[in-house]
């Protein structure tokens, strides 16, 4: 059951990601791993994966991800496959993640570059507030501890 060493994350077009961390972007200066996590989760919420092309490009190294980020990637793989067994297949875990990120990059680019430059933080804050409200309603088994929520 030995697996090939996995140490890179790939995307279809690195330039799409690069654009998001360049000077004119509100995310300028951010490491690619952050952009990857954003695109991955956005693609996941959209429920859309795009298979990576053969000439895929390297984006960042897995080792740069924090434990929590890795946990999210695994949780997404579990949610996507419907079981914990996927956790035995690291390649699959990261392939799923890359495919979601390949889909999420379009969404993120649209969101980041629409509206005024200075308003991105505010828009992002509002978007997360909305999303938080949504998950608070969906999760019924107490994971969101209501006493901790300032509403």
């Amino acid at each position: 059951m030995e697996q090939k060493v996995l140490d890179r994350l790939y995307v279809n077009k690195r330039d799409d990601f690069k654009r998001l961390v360049e000077r004119d972007s509100p995310l300028a200066g951010y490491d690619y791993k952050y952009i990857f996590m954003l695109t991955l989760t956005m693609g996941f919420v959209e429920g859309r994966r795009i298979e990576l092309e053969a000439r895929k490009e390297e984006l960042t190294r897995i080792e740069y991800l924090s434990d929590k980020e890795k946990s999210i990637i695994k949780a997404i793989a579990v949610a996507t496959t419907g079981g914990l067994k996927v956790l035995l297949n690291k390649k699959k875990i990261y392939t799923i993640a890359e495919e979601y990120a390949a889909s999420g990059i379009t969404l993120l680019t649209q969101k980041v570059f629409s509206g005024e430059y200075g308003s991105y933080i505010k828009r992002l804050g509002n978007e997360l507030e909305e999303k938080f409200k949504e998950i608070k309603g969906k999760v019924s088994y107490g994971s969101i501890e209501k006493e901790n929520i300032i509403s």
Binding site: P26, L27, Y30, Y34, M37, L38, L40, T41, M42, F44, V45, D67, K68, E69, K70, S71, I72, K74, A75, I76, V78, A79, T80, G83, L84, K85, L87, L88, Y120, I121, L124, G125, L128, E129, K131, F132, I135, K138, V139, Y141, S143, I144, E145, N148, I149, I150, S151
Partner: protein, 670 residues
């Protein structure tokens, strides 16, 4: 002479208003209060229009507009007429009632335009109708030639010393003070007639020689030379007057720019500049702090974003792991990898041989099949379980954290806003007094100083040329005199000329004596009033109005100048001067002051208010005041002397404006 009442009909904002005035000696103050633009100055204008047919205190805003109330005019139908009228009822020292009324009619013509109706049968030159009535016995009797009578009662030339704008008093009095004081002394002395007589005598004297036909050729020659000198004399007089006017204007400008430079000291700029730098420094720090905080917030949001977006997945995975834990599958009792190793080696940990198919090996095989693959990563699952729990905890705190960031950012933004407003205020102040402007003022000041110096030289030269010319005139007149004396036939002419010379000398003496007397009297009374009423009694020693009618003030060490007085002290000096003019004039007229404390700070304002009754002792005084200058403290100081108090209620309506004058406060005792 006191005003008992004023009736205003359709005059500017006053459609139908009657104001009764206190005429009591004890309660000789009347207060009419109104906000800026309510119509205080138009009350003053109503009085001068009634008396002289002119709105002598009209401001730029009202110039060019009809005096008729715009509301009344709009309500008129085409060809409808509207009457504007002011009626003032006076009571003189003997209790005699005098009514002066002026009215004028307006007609609405096509397109809503207004036409003034010139009443040819009216008594006034401008087409308005003026009437003066005096109560004799029980009946009011019409006075013939009312304008002449009014001018005798309240001369138009000196009305400005009785009805005046307190706010402009300082400027009026201080700018070009020599010329102003000379004018005032001239007017108050009522020596216009003497000046006219002098001019008339001079002309008559010249005509006498010109009309004489039997003069010898030599005398004619001298007379022609004299005529030329007379013409030159007139020219010199006119040029000198012009130069003096120009010098006066330059002095006014010197004062204006000097005041600007004095009232805006450089230290003030330095102070403002240091405040600006300090505020900019604070702002820079706040901006930096805000930028850092926003960056921090963005980092937080980007960090928490995947947690929230993938929350369902995280939560579900955690639930699965929870279930495994509940079922006791993690940590598992036996790892699949371990069982595989036992089967491969054929030795159980208890020492039983399981290398061959036997019941024990079968048991281990059964356990191996039952054992899930997942157990291979069981330690990883445990750490995932912890990690996901921690993520969920972070998500739980999102609302609180986000709220805290927003609060911090809002507070900082508010601080930045306040500091920016403060910076704008400072910048505005600096803009008003920016260094370039100060340089400009200084240049202007120097320019006008040069002008003044230039005119001083020009005046001196002109004066010298005029003196030479006058000497030459005198010489030529003496030659003519001698020539005339040679022949008996010119004895009559000579006598007449002699009479003119003596009369001219006499009138000139009278004129300068009266003016000198009035000057000294005004100087004495101004000094007396000022030194009695000024609060810094030890500071000031003397007030002088010199031969050039320039006023000077000295401290006890003999130093000083008007420029050293504060605004409040200058107002006291100006009021002392006006009060002296009042007293010297001999006209017992009521005093009406528009915005008496307009430019005065609170404390000096209270001081002046407490002194006003002393300034105008025994005179009826009406103050037209704004609500800000008529403070509680000012009112308290005057209260014992107030006979009537009114408030002007100004209403700006859709079709025009209207003001009512409502009595309040002090009960009438007049």
């Amino acid at each position: 002479m006191n005003i008992e009442s004023i009736k205003l009909q359709n005059f500017r904002q006053y459609r139908n208003v009657e104001i009764g005035f206190s005429i009591s000696d004890e309660k000789n103050f009347n207060i009419i209060q109104g906000i800026t633009g309510a119509g205080k100055t138009n009350l003053l204008n109503a009085i001068t229009w009634c008396l002289y047919g002119k709105e002598k205190h009209i401001d730029e805003k009202s110039k060019g507009y009809s005096i008729a109330n715009n509301l009344s005019i709009r309500e008129l139908k085409e060809n409808g007429k509207c009457k504007v009228g002011i009626q003032i009822q006076f009571r003189d020292e003997e209790g005699k009632k005098i009514i002066i009324g002026r009215s004028r009619e307006f007609k609405k013509i096509e397109n809503g335009r207004i036409m003034e109706i010139n009443n040819m049968s009216g008594k006034s030159y401008d087409g308005s109708t003026i009437i003066m009535l005096v109560l004799i016995g029980k009946d009011f009797v019409e006075v013939p030639d009312p304008e002449l009578q009014i001018n005798r009662m309240i001369p138009e030339s000196i009305e400005e010393y009785f009805f005046f704008d307190g706010e402009r008093l300082n400027d009026y009095f201080l700018e070009n003070s020599g010329k102003r004081i000379l004018e005032a002394v001239f007017k108050i002395s009522q020596i216009g007639l003497i000046s006219n007589a002098l001019k008339h005598l001079e002309n008559k004297k010249r005509e006498l020689l010109r009309e004489e036909k039997n003069l010898s050729p030599n005398t004619i020659n001298i007379r022609d030379m004299l005529d030329e000198k007379y013409i030159k004399k007139d020219e010199y007089e006119s040029t000198l007057k012009n130069f003096k006017d120009q010098k006066g204007k330059a002095e006014g400008k010197i004062k204006e720019f000097g005041d600007k430079l004095r009232t805006v000291p450089i230290s003030n700029i330095n102070q403002l500049q240091s405040e600006r730098e300090k505020t900019e420094e604070i702002l820079n720090k706040l901006d930096e702090e805000l930028s850092d905080l926003k960056k921090e917030k963005l980092k937080y949001l980007i960090g928490i974003f995947p947690f929230i977006y993938a929350f369902e997945a995280i939560n579900n995975t955690k639930q699965m792991l929870d279930n495994l834990e509940t079922a006791g599958e993690i940590p598992p009792d036996i790892k699949k990898q371990f069982l595989l190793k036992l089967l491969e080696t054929g030795n159980c940990i208890c020492g039983t041989d399981i290398s061959k198919d036997n019941i024990y090996r079968e048991k281990v095989k059964e356990l191996f099949v039952k054992c899930d693959d997942i157990t291979q990563i069981t330690s990883e699952l445990i750490s995932e379980h912890i990690s996901l729990s921690s993520i969920i905890k972070e998500v739980n705190n999102f609302k609180k954290e986000h709220f805290n960031y927003n609060i911090k950012i809002n507070n900082l933004e508010e601080k930045v806003k306040n500091e920016n407003e403060q910076l704008k205020k400072i910048n505005d102040q600096i803009k008003i007094i920016d260094v370039e402007e100060i340089k400009n003022w200084n240049n202007k000041l120097n320019e006008y100083r040069e002008f003044k110096e230039d005119y001083i030289v020009k005046i001196a030269l002109c004066q010298q040329q005029m003196d030479t010319n006058n000497k030459e005139i005198k010489g030529l007149e003496e030659i003519i005199d001698k020539e005339l004396k040679k022949e008996e036939k010119f004895k009559k002419l000579q006598k007449k000329l002699d009479f003119y010379h003596k009369s001219l000398d006499a009138f000139n003496n009278i004129k300068s004596n009266i003016m000198e007397e009035v000057r000294k009297e005004i100087e004495e009374k101004t000094k007396q009033q000022f030194l009695e009423l000024i609060w810094k009694k030890d500071t000031y020693g003397n007030i002088k109005i010199n031969e050039n009618y320039e006023i000077s003030i000295t401290d006890k060490y003999g130093e000083g100048g008007i420029g050293t007085l504060s605004a409040g002290e200058t107002q006291i000096l100006a009021l002392s001067f006006i009060s002296a003019l009042n007293s010297v004039s001999g006209f017992n007229m009521p005093i009406i002051i528009d915005t008496p404390l307009g430019r005065i700070a609170k404390e000096p304002g209270i001081n002046i208010a407490s002194n006003l009754p002393k300034f105008f002792k025994g005179k009826q005084v009406t103050l037209l005041v704004t609500d800000t200058e008529y403070s509680i403290e000012v009112r308290e100081k005057l209260l014992d002397k107030i006979g009537k108090e009114y408030l002007i209620n100004f209403k700006e309506l859709e079709n025009g404006s209207e003001a009512e004058v409502v009595s309040y406060g002090t009960k009438s005792s007049g």
